[in-house]
């Protein structure tokens, strides 16, 4: 196939899918409150009589806490308590907010007698004011027995490496005596044999860095006993139900977890960070406790993206058929094994099926402990790490074959109606599920995207002009939609006599707009408008269970649950209307907030529920539905980028980026576009700006926004998003996920564009101008 041929991809969205509410850009329903600056975030809640909680943190990367002397702090007027490891339950758990049983090892304690990174918690202080709490922190004397540490994860398995997890209670870790939190390997076919048969091969090692979520709202939680003595936790979390379950595991106490608006999460709030500390204080003192992290704590003592190294080997025959992929990885999980196995597996499971025509695949590696901040979930969840290695290696292979990389990647990628053995072999933390790809518009993404980007015309341009070089790159990506056969979402819909509905969902809108798109799905199914829905998320005492916001699952799983609930509510309404009117259900249909009969009669939803409340077969219409998926339909994306390199300094600027996305039906095109633009920007940050620098003692030097540079407004030049005409048969009204995939391509597309510009294959993110300059200089490309 030649992508240069003038041809268009046939559009397949059948015209019978006429939507009223879905696939329109309705305004975000929480938008009004947010632009008005209403007090909707955790820190905005004033709970009277609250104690201020602060955490004393380790200055050492690896040490035994020999003694904590809090007597001076406790003498300070206004200090309510100082808790050390002796004062909290010694229950091993994982902070990872995953479904139960968690695939992450239980290797963490609320407070431990050992600290494993600079920033690890040593003591919890609660005081009447922030100032007193700060003073108290300074008065606590801790004696440490400092141990050797491991900062560089490539040395975690060295022969004489100190053992980071030697506690007897640890469970679920692969080989903690050798600092291996987890290990994974899979293969089919014989990679060595296939490689030997290939006409062209490439082998390289790629590195992706730690990355901070840098959500604008720091971690925060408030706990208190309500009037009836029920423990209540207001927390900025993506996973309220998992928080409730984990708090119960640690403290043996039942609780109610309320998620207000969340100031961004990106996976960073898919963990129990602050909740355990405030709970410990409330249980100890009986008083409300609030803990709002500083930016420094959010940077150094929460989670980071798993840094990974992949040694990759790929090979193709002379006809450009990709035959084999071999990826051997190493992942840094930091001090604790949160999401260790699963992020590593996703580096394979959400990249390898894209190239399903290969004869052999191997994916294996270790996830190791180090004395650095614990890694955790972060948008993309391993896929950006895997995609950087795989897409760059394929780019190089295309170059060796003398082939346009768009053409090479497209030729070897998966199509609608096909499958990949990887789907079955690799799940998240366990075996996956078989699936036939029901929607895949990667041809449209690549071919139409190339046209829109002027790919072929641009590549005719002189690459080096004066002191600047220009380059053009392409990267292909896939993701998933939910963790199949594991994660469940629920939705409750209650009808009111004023014609409105309460939509109660455990799904966790953390800024993504999920409250809005779930209301759109419900409105579509109930033939009414979004304005008729009062959406409430999430409160474990009120809303039904939902796994939470992660794994690209809210639109797909919670969306399907919402659709089911709305459809059942529709049936309930029709049944009630039939009883009221005496006409059979078959002669009734829903239209614009009314039940209409073939005889021309109509009843509004309001009239129906009013009768059901007061005068006729009295009952409340309310339904709850749940959804677990059997499959995880991948969204697909092809990204094109133009970069400029200043040859005098090595600085790289991304001049423009086009993301052509197949996410099925975008439920809300405007919000979907925002997801892709935002993810691209975070990916550009990961590729060019964001870096954790440590000093020799393992302290993160880049521990604030002054030194850790997320892209600012002037750094982002132009990001364009286009959606393919696609419909996923298993999705709610044809939808797949869209939140994570945008982060998979910026790394490889920028690296590929640099190669295109100057012939240098960058294999490490972030791409530092300093490193690139000296490479340019070696090749005589600096003016």
């Amino acid at each position: 196939m030649n992508v240069r041929e003038e041809r268009s991809v046939a559009t397949s969205l059948s015209s019978d899918k006429n939507f009223d509410v879905v696939n329109t850009s309705v305004e975000k329903i929480d938008g009004y409150a947010l632009v008005k600056g209403k007090p909707v975030f955790t820190d905005d809640f004033d709970v009277p009589d609250s104690l201020i909680v602060k955490i004393l943190r380790s200055p050492h990367a690896h040490a035994i806490v020999k003694n904590v002397d809090a007597s001076k702090a406790l003498e300070l007027s206004g200090v309510a308590c100082v808790l050390t490891y002796k004062d909290v339950p010694r229950i091993a758990f994982t902070r990872a907010g995953q479904g139960y049983p968690e695939p992450s090892p239980y290797d963490t304690f609320v407070l431990d007698k050992k600290v494993r990174y600079v920033g690890d918690a040593v003591a919890i202080v609660a005081a009447e004011s922030e100032e007193i709490a700060r003073k108290a922190l300074k008065l606590i004397k801790v004696e440490y027995d400092v141990l050797d540490n491991i900062i560089d994860y490539e040395h975690a398995m060295d022969e004489n490496a100190p053992i980071i997890h030697d506690e007897s209670e640890i469970s679920g870790a692969y080989d903690p005596k050798h600092n291996i939190a987890s290990h994974y390997e899979m293969h089919f076919g014989d990679v060595d044999e296939e490689l030997s048969k290939c006409d062209v091969t490439t082998e390289k090692t790629f590195y992706t860095p730690n990355q901070s979520h840098a959500m604008m709202e720091p971690h925060a939680a408030i706990s208190y006993f309500d009037a009836n003595g029920r423990l209540t936790i207001i927390t900025s979390t993506q996973v309220p139900y998992h928080v409730r379950r984990i708090i119960k595991r640690i403290f043996g106490v039942e609780s109610r977890v309320i998620k207000p608006r969340i100031g961004g999460g990106f996976g960073g709030k898919q963990a129990v960070h602050v909740e355990a500390y405030v709970t410990a204080v409330t249980l100890k003192t009986g008083r409300p406790a609030r803990c709002i992290y500083t930016r420094k704590e959010t940077m150094t003592a929460s989670n980071t993206r798993h840094a990974m190294r992949f040694k990759i080997r790929v090979g193709a025959d002379k006809d450009a058929n990709l035959r084999v992929i071999d990826m051997q990885g190493l992942s840094n999980t930091g001090a604790y094994g949160e999401h260790a196995l699963t992020t590593f597996m996703v580096a394979g499971s959400k990249t390898l099926p894209l190239y399903n025509k290969v004869n052999a695949v191997r994916f294996m590696g270790d996830i190791v402990y180090t004395n650095t901040e614990s890694a955790g979930a972060f948008r993309g969840y391993g896929a950006p790490q895997g995609a950087f290695a795989l897409d760059c290696a394929l780019d190089e292979l295309a170059h060796k074959l003398g082939m346009d990389p768009v053409e090479f990647k497209l030729k070897n990628s998966i199509r609608e109606g096909e499958t990949s053995p990887v789907f079955k072999v690799m799940g998240e933390g366990r075996e996956g599920v078989e699936q036939i790809v029901g929607s895949c518009k990667i041809e449209e993404c690549a071919i139409e995207g190339a046209k829109l980007f002027n790919w072929h015309e641009k590549r005719e341009r002189q690459r080096i002009e004066g002191t600047k070089a220009h380059g053009y790159g392409v990267a292909f990506a896939m993701q998933g939609s939910s963790i199949p056969a594991i994660d469940m979402g629920g939705a409750t819909i209650k009808m009111n006599d004023d014609g409105t509905f309460n939509l109660m969902i455990g799904a966790t809108d953390l800024g993504t707009g999920s409250d809005t798109i779930l209301a759109q799905i419900a409105a579509e199914a109930l033939h009414t408008s979004v304005g008729k829905f009062v959406v409430y998320s999430s409160d474990t005492d009120v809303t039904p269970f939902d796994k939470g916001a992660y794994a690209s699952s809210t639109t797909y799983v919670s969306g399907n649950a919402t659709k089911r609930a709305a459809e059942r509510m529709a049936r309930e309404i029709l049944k009630a209307a039939s009883e009221i009117t005496g006409e059979s259900v078959e002669k009734l249909h829903l239209e614009n907030g009314k039940v209409i009969s073939k005889s021309g009669k109509s009843l509004t939803y309001s009239e129906i529920q009013t009768q059901l409340f007061y005068t006729f077969k009295q009952r409340q219409l309310e339904v709850t539905e749940s959804f677990v998926s059997e499959v995880s339909p991948p969204p697909y994306m092809v990204t094109f980028a133009e970069i400029e390199i200043d040859l005098e300094t090595g600085k790289v600027d991304v001049m423009s980026m086009l993301n052509y996305v197949d996410c099925g039906t975008p439920i809300n095109p405007l919000l979907a576009r925002g997801q892709v633009e935002g993810a691209s920007s975070q990916g550009i940050g990961m590729a060019l700006y964001e870096e954790h620098i440590f000093d020799k003692n393992g302290r993160m030097v880049t521990d604030d926004f002054f030194t850790y540079k997320v892209p600012s407004r002037d750094d982002i030049k132009k990001i364009t998003v286009k959606f393919a005409d696609s419909y996923e048969p298993t999705g709610p009204f044809g939808a797949k996920s869209v939140s994570e995939i945008g982060l998979d391509t910026p790394g490889p597309v920028i690296a590929n564009a640099i190669f295109d510009a100057v012939g240098i294959r960058v294999n490490r993110l972030p791409i530092k101008s300093e490193d690139l300059y000296f490479k340019l200089n070696e090749r005589g490309l600096t003016p």
């Binding site: 620098i693 000093d695 030194t707 540079k709 892209p711 600012s712 300093e770």
Partner: protein, 270 residues
């Protein structure tokens, strides 16, 4: 909150100076730098806002009161037009809108920060500093930044009013970031011939200073054909250090690259 005991707002320079002499006391003008201090010994702040020092006076040279905000360089008609609009252009790269609305020119100079863009730009313009230590004195900015911080109060900056062309170049990781290195260049230029050249490099990471060897080399030469040689000389002579952000060797590269950009900028403009 800063744990301090007193926030004082004196009305006269003399009073402020006397208060400033107390132990564990600092002056505050815009507040940005002070607010970032983590010193637990700080007890007292002496606010200089009531002292006026907000004048922008035209004359043979331009007097800028120490309390003038950096944003004035972009909006005040006199300041924004100086040296062919140099300061207006340069200040866009300094901090952010909010920071420029808070930071004062006096504070920007008095803290003698190694990475200061403002000092590099002002030094290239051959600015001088007026300060109060019981009496008013004036020193060149170049000399001022080399002196140890005492209890002096910066009261004004003077910028010579002339037709020199000035250029400022900054290299940083992101566009809202401090410089890995910055360069300021100033010169008279007639028929491509340069005179009265100033070349300043800051954020090396040491405090900004003039690079006399390069200045000497450039004086009386033609701009268009001395750029490469000047850059080479810069790279060979500049003293730089490395830090966690950037290695010394790369700072040398940047000093040459930014000098070239600055000189090309002046060449295009003049």
């Amino acid at each position: 909150m800063l744990s301090i005991k007193e926030y004082l707002r004196p009305d006269t320079l003399e009073e402020a100076y006397d208060l400033g002499k107390m132990e564990n006391t600092l002056y505050v003008s815009g507040g940005l730098m002070i607010a970032s201090l983590k010193s637990s010994r700080l007890e007292r702040l002496v606010d200089l806002k009531n002292l006026g020092m907000e004048e922008i006076e035209d004359g043979k040279r331009v007097k800028i009161g120490a309390n003038v905000k950096l944003s004035e360089f972009m909006t005040n008609p006199l300041l924004s037009s100086l040296n062919h609009g140099f300061f207006k252009k340069t200040m866009k790269d300094v901090g952010s809108t909010q920071i420029r609305n808070m930071a004062t020119v006096g504070g920007s100079v008095a803290f003698r920060l190694g990475w200061s863009d403002v000092i590099t730009a002002l030094m290239a313009s051959k600015a001088t500093v007026e300060l109060y230590e019981g009496q008013l004195n004036e020193v060149s900015l170049e000399r001022y930044v080399k002196e140890k911080r005492r209890k002096e109060i910066v009261t004004a900056i003077y910028i010579p009013k002339n037709d020199r062309f000035l250029a400022f170049e900054k290299f940083s990781k992101s566009t809202f970031d401090i410089a890995m290195l910055n360069v300021g260049v100033g010169m008279n230029i007639r028929d491509d011939k340069m005179s009265d050249v100033t070349v300043v490099v800051g954020s090396r990471p040491m405090i900004s200073g003039r690079i006399v060897e390069v200045e000497k080399f450039l004086n009386d030469k033609e701009l268009s054909n001395s750029i490469e040689a000047a850059a080479q000389l810069m790279r060979d002579t500049i003293k730089v250090g490395g830090d966690v952000r950037v290695k010394a060797e790369y700072r040398k590269v940047l000093s040459a690259a930014l000098l070239k950009k600055a000189m090309r900028g002046i060449g295009d403009e003049s």
